[in-house]
Every structure is written in structure tokens, then in C-alpha cells.
């Protein structure tokens, strides 16, 4: 009971408040646009050379107004916007005309989630282990060398780093495919040929996310462990003659891991944005490339759909991480 009132309910209120604020922002921002999307869509069609007679223009205006959810006062539109959200309806996409936005997102989401989950898991684990060991032996030469490498990789923005890998392994040493999620025309199946094809295509985008991620987790973990090192219990364990491997694995890394779980919750939004950018560089068929197409085609329904889904997904991921935190840290019982 105490747990509910003191932790869970405030946390849930915050969760819904963030979603509410985010979705409201997504609703308001495109409506600040000086140009009317309906007028713009029609003039764009015209500029592509299609002839439209006045009657069909009137029809189109009515239909587009409905499609963009622009009927009635701003408040009516806002209510209707939420109603549609609850039904998972973001209207139809403009650049792939009759396809519903939800279907496009549904096709892209598995690619992004797969890439994001696997790279984040690998980067987090490897970064923590390397950083933990390097932090414990922080006077060793290899530890310093790794630190310098991380200092160089870390400040690179996702875009440039992915781009550099693309040039290196796509053009100079053409080892991996440079675009797409699988070879064109291949049917998804559970055969090894398909799976290996997907893995080969995912290699470069994944590598760029993993390397950047490892550098970041490595650095913070090394700093944390250097601080844990000077704690009394570590000294005590050393004097007690406990094996070093046991001290590092069981005492030092385990203690240093906890703040990193919190950091993961805080940074997941940024990691997600980075994955979108990386997908754009490698034309990976996930949300990022969908977003890129939506931007270049001025497809507002699609951009709004992607943004809303991302906000909900990320805030939910953070909520889950927060709620399962006691599993990692037995000292916290939320009571």
C-alpha cells in the first residue's frame, strides 16, 4: 500500500503527464504552420502537372480537410486527435497515398526495435565490463589506451560516425552492403540464407551504434569504478585475500552497474534518436528512413505518427526500467 502511494502513483502520474505534454506539442506544432497543408498538397499536385477541374478540387479540399483532421475549431480538432490516437489511427500517408500511417509504422518498427535492442544490449554490456575492468586496473597501459580511444570516438555525432563507417567499409573496403535491410525481393523466412542476409545488412548500422555506445558506457563506468575502488569494502576485500577476479566481478562491477541502469533510463531517448539518424545514413528500412521520406515529402501525418509512437514507446521503456530497478538493487524496496 505504502509502495503504491509513495512511489507507483506519482511515477505513473509523471508518465502520463509526459505523454500528454509530448502529444499536445505534436498536435500544436504543425498547426502553427502559416501555410495550410490542404492548399499546399493541392498546389504540389498541380506543380507535378496533373490537371484538376474546379469541382474535383472542391472534393479534394473536403477530403483532405477530413484526412488531416482539420475540421471544426482547434478544440474540436484536439479532442478528435486524441480519439483517433486511442484507436491507433493517424490517418493516411501522403507520400504512399492510400496506405494508413499505422501500417507504414508497423512495417518499419520491427527493424528499428531489433537494431535498437540488440545494439543497446551489446554496447551496454561490453561497455560496462570493459569500463569496469579498465577502471579497476586504471594504471595499466591498455586501460589508458582504451580511454584515449574512447575520448576520440565519444564526441562524434551519430551521423558523421555512421557516414565514416559507410565510406570505409562500403566503398574503400566493400565488405558489407551499404543500404537496405535485406536484398531486394527476398521473402522473409526462417531459413539461414535470409537470416544471414539480414545480419549482413544490419552489420554496419549496428557496428556504428555499438562503437559509439561502448565508448560512452566505457567512459562513465571507468569513472564510477575508480570511485568504487577507493571505498572501504574494496580495500577490506583485498586485505582479506579475496581473489582479484572475484573482487572485480562481484563487488566492483556490480556496484558500479547500478548508476548505469539509471543512466540507461535517462539516455534511452537519445540512443533512440541516434538509431534513427544511423538508419537514415544506411537507408535501413526502419523508422528513421521512414522519417526521412516523410520529411522530404512533407508528409505531416506520417511525421506526427512516428513522433507520437516514439514518445509513447520511449516513456514506457523508461517506466519499465524504473519499475524493475529493485531487481538489480536489493537495497531498494520502494517502501
Amino acid at each position: 500500500m505504502n509502495f503504491l502511494r509513495s512511489y507507483l502513483i506519482p511515477r505513473l502520474i509523471q508518465y502520463f503527464l509526459v505523454i500528454f505534454v509530448g502529444v499536445t506539442a505534436v498536435f500544436i506544432i504543425p498547426r502553427l504552420l502559416p501555410s495550410d497543408p490542404v492548399v499546399r498538397t493541392i498546389s504540389e499536385l498541380r506543380s507535378r502537372g496533373s490537371y484538376l477541374d474546379p469541382a474535383s478540387i472542391d472534393n479534394m479540399v473536403a477530403e483532405l480537410t477530413e484526412m488531416y483532421g482539420l475540421e471544426g475549431s482547434a478544440f474540436d480538432q484536439y479532442i478528435a486527435f486524441w480519439q483517433r490516437l486511442f484507436h491507433g489511427d493517424f490517418g493516411v500517408s501522403f507520400f504512399q497515398f492510400p496506405t494508413p500511417v499505422m501500417e507504414l509504422i508497423g512495417n518499419a518498427l520491427p527493424w528499428t526495435l531489433g537494431l535498437l535492442l540488440i545494439t543497446t544490449a551489446i554496447a551496454w554490456t561490453v561497455g560496462i565490463l570493459l569500463g569496469g575492468v579498465a577502471g579497476y586496473f586504471n594504471r595499466a597501459g591498455w586501460s589508458r589506451a582504451l580511454d584515449t580511444a574512447a575520448m576520440i570516438v565519444r564526441p562524434m555525432p551519430y551521423y558523421l560516425f555512421a557516414f565514416a563507417l559507410l565510406i570505409l567499409f562500403g566503398y574503400i573496403f566493400p565488405l558489407f552492403p551499404v543500404a537496405g535491410g535485406s536484398d531486394i525481393g527476398r521473402q522473409p523466412s526462417f531459413r539461414w540464407s535470409y537470416i544471414s542476409d539480414v545480419l549482413r545488412h544490419a552489420f554496419l548500422p549496428a557496428l556504428s551504434l555499438i562503437l559509439l555506445g561502448i565508448a560512452a558506457w566505457f567512459q562513465t563506468m571507468k569513472l564510477i569504478v575508480q570511485n568504487v575502488n577507493s571505498e572501504d569494502f574494496v580495500q577490506y576485500a583485498k586485505f582479506g585475500g579475496i581473489k582479484e577476479s572475484r573482487i572485480v566481478n562481484r563487488y566492483v562491477i556490480r556496484n558500479g552497474m547500478l548508476p548505469q541502469i539509471t543512466a540507461l533510463a535517462l539516455l534511452i531517448g537519445q540512443i533512440f534518436s541516434g538509431a534513427l539518424i544511423t538508419e537514415i545514413v544506411f537507408s535501413y528500412p526502419g523508422l528513421g528512413s521512414l522519417l526521412y521520406n516523410a520529411i522530404t515529402n512533407g508528409d505531416y501525418n506520417l511525421i506526427m505518427g512516428i513522433t507520437v509512437i516514439s514518445i509513447v514507446a520511449i516513456t514506457t521503456a523508461i517506466l519499465i526500467l524504473d519499475l524493475i530497478y529493485p531487481l538489480f538493487d536489493p537495497r531498494i524496496r520502494y517502501s
Binding site: I29, P155, Q219, G269, I295, T296
Partner: protein
């Protein structure tokens, strides 16, 4: 001046300071440019580097050495606008939240937490599309400033929280100093280095985001920046055609800028508090 002397002990500070000075000098060269880099076809197209054109020319007939100096200058201007304006938000928010505590603190930190949690990149894209027609150095800088303060407000606030517990705060309050001058005169000198370190950090973030937005075509492509240079190189297929000097120039300039800003910021924050680094880099 002692601070600077101490900082120069650190090789990271030395290296990054020198690189940054060279880049600023290069940016200043743009005032003496012999060509108008806004005009296409001023020089022959697609020339590799030579004595006359030290970094070659591009497919639009623009000298890459000189457009590069404009690009560094403009990217730095965007970064400075974003950095300084976002400090103007972050510092007051941090001071009010940290000093007052209570409900105000919780509300302000809720807002900054929301900024951290939401995938900002998407919101920035929506806003950038909104102001695309009136996009210039200032609007882009302001747009980035609106989103670059949240993390730093948190970092500075935790510093204020610890300052509030120090003895001199009690002394100042008991001797009748009013809150405003306490915060401005007594706390400001303590948080200034931290404000500076976060400023450099957010500048690097702004330059990186500018590159990303430019690649997506969401900035004014006629203004040379590191991002738009790369945009043009990519849209003319410079990688496939083998015009390495055209692609490499903005990439190398950007990498040098990122590393020097990052190392500068790390070195300052390590000097302030060796136990923690405050860097946040990414999209």
C-alpha cells in the same frame, strides 16, 4: 590566471586549445575571402587540390578552402547562439530550483526531465519544418537553444544544492544579504566554471545537430555551414565520383571541432571535479 596554468598541465587541454585556436583563425580568414562563396561558378569545377585552390573546388564552382572557412564561422555562430541563450535559460532555472527547493524545484525539474525523456530529435525536426522558410543562423541557434538547456540545468542545480548547505550561505543570510545578491555574488563565482564547461559541451551538441538537420535538408542550404557543405557534397554524389577533397573537408573540419570542444570541456570538468564528467554528446 592560475586556473589556466593548471589547465595547461593537461595534455587534452593543450591539444584541444591549440586546435580550436587554429579553427577560429581559419574561420576569421573568411573575412578576407577573395571569392563570394554564395555565387556558383566563380572558379572552375571539380578541381583537385592545387596551389591555386588549396582544397580544390566543388561541382558548383566554389572554392572549398574559402567556403570551408565560412562554414566553420557560421557553425560556430550557430553554436554560440545556441550555447549562450540556453545558458540564459539553464542558469536561472538551476538557481531558482536549487535554491528554493520544494514545489518550484519539483515543477522545474519535471519540465527538464520531460525534455530529457522525449525523443527531442523528432520534436526539433517538426519545429525545423515549421520555420524552414525563415531559417537562418539566428533562428537555428534559437531553436537549438530551446532544447539544449535541460540537462545542464540539472547539472548546475545539483551544484547549487551543495553550495546551499555550505557555511557561508548561513553567514550571508544571517548578516542580512538578500537572496538575489547572495545567489548572484556568492554562488555565481562557484558555478561559473561549470557553466562554461556546459557551454562548450552544448556548443558541440548544437554543431552536431546542425549537421544532421542540414543533411535532412531542414536548414537554409544557401548559407555555408559544416552541415550544408556535407549536404551539397552528398547530393552531388561526391563519394561515388571520387571527389574525396569535397567530402573530406567538412568531415575533417567537423571532427576536429568536435574533438577539440569535447576535450576542452572534459578537461575543464575534470579540473572542477575529478570524480565526474558531465559530458553529454549525441543527437
Amino acid at each position: 590566471m592560475n586556473v589556466l596554468k593548471d589547465l595547461f598541465q593537461d595534455y587534452k587541454f593543450k591539444v584541444s586549445f591549440i586546435i580550436l585556436l587554429i579553427l577560429i583563425f581559419y574561420a576569421c580568414l573568411s573575412f578576407f575571402s577573395p571569392y563570394d562563396t554564395a555565387l556558383w561558378g566563380e572558379v572552375p569545377r571539380d578541381l583537385p587540390p592545387s596551389m591555386e585552390h588549396p582544397l580544390g573546388t566543388d561541382s558548383r564552382g566554389i572554392d572549398i578552402f574559402w567556403v570551408g572557412s565560412f562554414a566553420v564561422r557560421n557553425s560556430l555562430i550557430i553554436a554560440l547562439i545556441a550555447g549562450i541563450i540556453s545558458r540564459m535559460i539553464a542558469v536561472p532555472v538551476a538557481m531558482i530550483a536549487g535554491y528554493n527547493g520544494g514545489t518550484i524545484d519539483r515543477v522545474l525539474m519535471f519540465i527538464s526531465d520531460s525534455f530529457l525523456v522525449i525523443p527531442l530529435f523528432l520534436i526539433i525536426i517538426l519545429l525545423a519544418m515549421l520555420v524552414r522558410d525563415s531559417m537562418n543562423l539566428v533562428t537555428l541557434g534559437l531553436l537549438l537553444a530551446c532544447f539544449g538547456w535541460a540537462w545542464d540545468a540539472r547539472v548546475i542545480r545539483s551544484d547549487i544544492l551543495s553550495l546551499r548547505e555550505r557555511g557561508f550561505t548561513q553567514t550571508a543570510i544571517l548578516s542580512g544579504t538578500n537572496t538575489l545578491s547572495l545567489v548572484l555574488k556568492e554562488y555565481m563565482p562557484f558555478v561559473m566554471p561549470l557553466v562554461f564547461a556546459t557551454l562548450i559541451n552544448v556548443m558541440a551538441w548544437a554543431i552536431g545537430l546542425e549537421v544532421t538537420l542540414a543533411i535532412l535538408g531542414l536548414v537554409n542550404l544557401d548559407i555555408p555551414t559544416l552541415g550544408t557543405m556535407l549536404y551539397w557534397a552528398l547530393s552531388y554524389q561526391a563519394v561515388l565520383l571520387g571527389y574525396w577533397w569535397w567530402v573530406l573537408t567538412p568531415v575533417v573540419l567537423a571532427v576536429l571541432l568536435f574533438i577539440s570542444l569535447y576535450w576542452l570541456s572534459v578537461s575543464i570538468s575534470e579540473y572542477l571535479d575529478p570524480r565526474s564528467r558531465i559530458q553529454r554528446v549525441g543527437a
